[in-house]
């Protein structure tokens, strides 16, 4: 979304200058990037880098062509990994948000659960992965369980603290208006906690991708993680690198997607979100009168 610019001449000049600066920056970045790739290529061709472990950029490029176009085998695995990430992320964070709300709203529950939360917080969640596989067997179920496990905690803790730290002045306002507990929850506590819950979701999504890879490293049947294992075992490092760079791109896209989601859900925290909802509310009011 680009904010509507005023046709003011001064503003126009300012954006022109900003655009020039941006273009110059992009050119610099591109230059540095090409220099790195080129020195890598040269170092590899000159024999300074062992091409077995550090494949040439040109070889990686070739592998991209191979696994995406000629063989096309990467698509399937990409799809598998992404479905896993999605399912585990949604499952883990829904669980985290629901349990976080319950524990945050119920003082008794909170007191009894606190020691376990502390223990769980101190334990690296991924260490439990082999146990989950032992319990649930190889396959999609245990993979999703692993991702849910690594995704659960950040939304849980953030929802918990968001729900507990509700603004006391606003609470008093709602009480003075005679609001019911349910109204306080729906109209105050949950919306008030949304920004901090979304921050937890961001952490969870990053964890989800790592969790999926660990699950695939252990199970070695399908998915990008398994593919990387197979390529590395066959000493096809160029293709392994192509997979890793694919994940880089995926991580980037996921990160951007999360930003879009954040701007949609926590709209009042962002200028363009406010503008959008403001226009929508105006329309709704004008449509009815």
């Amino acid at each position: 979304m680009v904010a509507i610019q005023s046709p003011d001449a001064a503003t126009g000049n300012a954006t022109d200058a900003a655009r020039q600066l941006r273009n110059r920056r992009i050119a610099t970045h591109l230059g540095i990037f090409l220099a790195i790739v080129l020195s890598w290529e040269i170092a590899s061709r000159a024999g300074w880098l062992d091409p077995l472990f550090y494949p040439r950029p040109s070889a990686i490029l070739q592998s991209f062509w191979l696994i995406y176009v000629v063989n096309g085998n990467v698509w399937y695995h990409l799809g598998v990994t992404m479905s896993l990430v999605f399912a585990g992320f949604v499952g883990g964070s829904v669980l985290g948000i629901v349990l976080g709300s319950l524990v945050g709203l119920n003082g008794t529950l909170r007191r009894f659960l606190k020691p376990y939360v502390i223990v769980l917080e101190a334990t690296p969640r991924i260490a439990v992965a082999p146990l989950l596989i032992a319990a649930l067997g190889f396959g999609v179920t245990s993979k999703i369980a692993i991702i849910m496990l690594v995704c659960f905690f950040a939304p849980f803790i953030n929802t918990l603290s968001g729900v507990m730290n509700v603004n006391q002045d606003k609470l008093e306002l709602f009480r003075a208006m005679g609001a019911s507990k349910w109204q306080i929850l729906r109209k105050l506590v949950l919306p008030d906690a949304i920004p901090v819950i979304m921050a937890g979701e961001r952490l969870a999504l990053t964890a989800a991708l790592s969790g999926a890879l660990v699950a695939e490293f252990i199970q070695r049947d399908q998915g990008i993680g398994s593919l990387i294992l197979v390529y590395t075992r066959n000493l096809n490092m160029a293709s392994a690198f192509a997979c890793i760079f694919t994940l880089t791109l995926l991580g980037f896209l996921i990160f951007r997607g999360m930003e879009v989601l954040d701007r949609t859900i926590a709209y009042w925290k962002h200028e363009e979100g406010r503008t959008r909802v403001s226009a929508r509310r105006r329309k709704a009011m004008e449509g009815q009168s």
Partner: protein
């Protein structure tokens, strides 16, 4: 002046808020926030509650609103004892406490939503109230886009949206600069006169208390109590310049003396 207009037998009926022996001691028993307060507030009158900070002004207001229960005595509103928050009372605080995720209009509509499902008439009323407080052009703005003074205006519109005939304001403009506060006070006077509400207004500013009110409850601390009730017989509408008149200064001296005597 007012007393002469009223027939003697309507006097009791015209008291809409009254307290008899109202006291509040906080949980641990060591803080006596309010002791043995007796008062009556006439229908449509504007009462200021003035006193040093910590003397129990907010406590008295919250007792009237039903947010807290008295330790002794009772508060009666419209003839019935206050047992909890009620719809004929509306309250406003020092902080605007707007919901950041709602537009100004939706913030004003909040009390209506709490009470039920807003109708188109409610929405139109909220819009009219925003115009009344001078924010007609900002109905669809979010709190983050409004200045402190504008936010407090939204809170004022929300206060009036309920249609309650008793308004409780706890230092509503205390956090604003003096110019904004004076302007909002003047508007508040005009608006409550227009809607005919009974108003209880907390402040620690003596001049402000007198300027706005028909009656000033002067409170003193340790323990918090209503030490004196001062009648303000100044004509309305009151220009800002009235604050330099001899009659006004005499009232200030009266209040100051009560406050200083303890």
């Amino acid at each position: 002046m007012k007393d002469q207009i009223m027939a003697p037998d309507t006097v009791a009926a015209d008291i809409v808020v009254s307290g008899r022996g109202v006291g509040k001691t906080f949980a641990d028993g060591s803080v006596v926030a309010l002791k043995n307060a007796d008062f009556g507030i006439k229908r449509g009158s504007f009462v200021s509650l003035v006193g040093p900070s910590g003397c129990g002004k907010s406590t008295l207001l919250r007792l009237v609103s039903g947010l807290i229960a008295p330790s002794s005595g009772a508060v009666t509103v419209h003839g019935t004892p206050v047992t909890g928050p009620r719809r004929d009372i509306s309250m406003m605080f020092q902080k605007a406490t707007l919901l950041e995720w709602r537009t100004a209009l939706d913030n004003v509509l909040l009390p209506t939503e709490i009470a039920g499902t807003p109708t188109q008439a409610d929405r139109n009323r909220a819009m009219d109230l925003l115009k009344l407080v001078g924010l007609g052009d900002f109905a669809f703005s979010f709190p983050a886009q409004l200045s402190g003074g504008m936010q407090q205006r939204v809170a004022l519109a929300r206060l009036l949206q309920t249609g309650a005939d008793i308004l409780l304001l706890d230092e509503p403009f205390g956090a604003l600069d003096e110019f904004t506060r004076e302007r909002l006070n003047t508007e508040l006077m005009r608006i409550v006169a227009e809607v005919g509400a009974t108003t209880l207004f907390v402040t620690h500013n003596i001049s402000e208390a007198i300027f706005l009110a028909d009656q000033v409850f002067v409170m003193t601390s340790r323990p918090g109590q209503v030490a004196k009730i001062v009648d303000v017989d100044l004509d309305r509408p009151r220009p800002l310049s009235i604050q330099t008149s001899p009659a006004f200064n005499a009232l200030v001296a009266d209040v100051r003396e009560t406050l200083g005597a303890v």
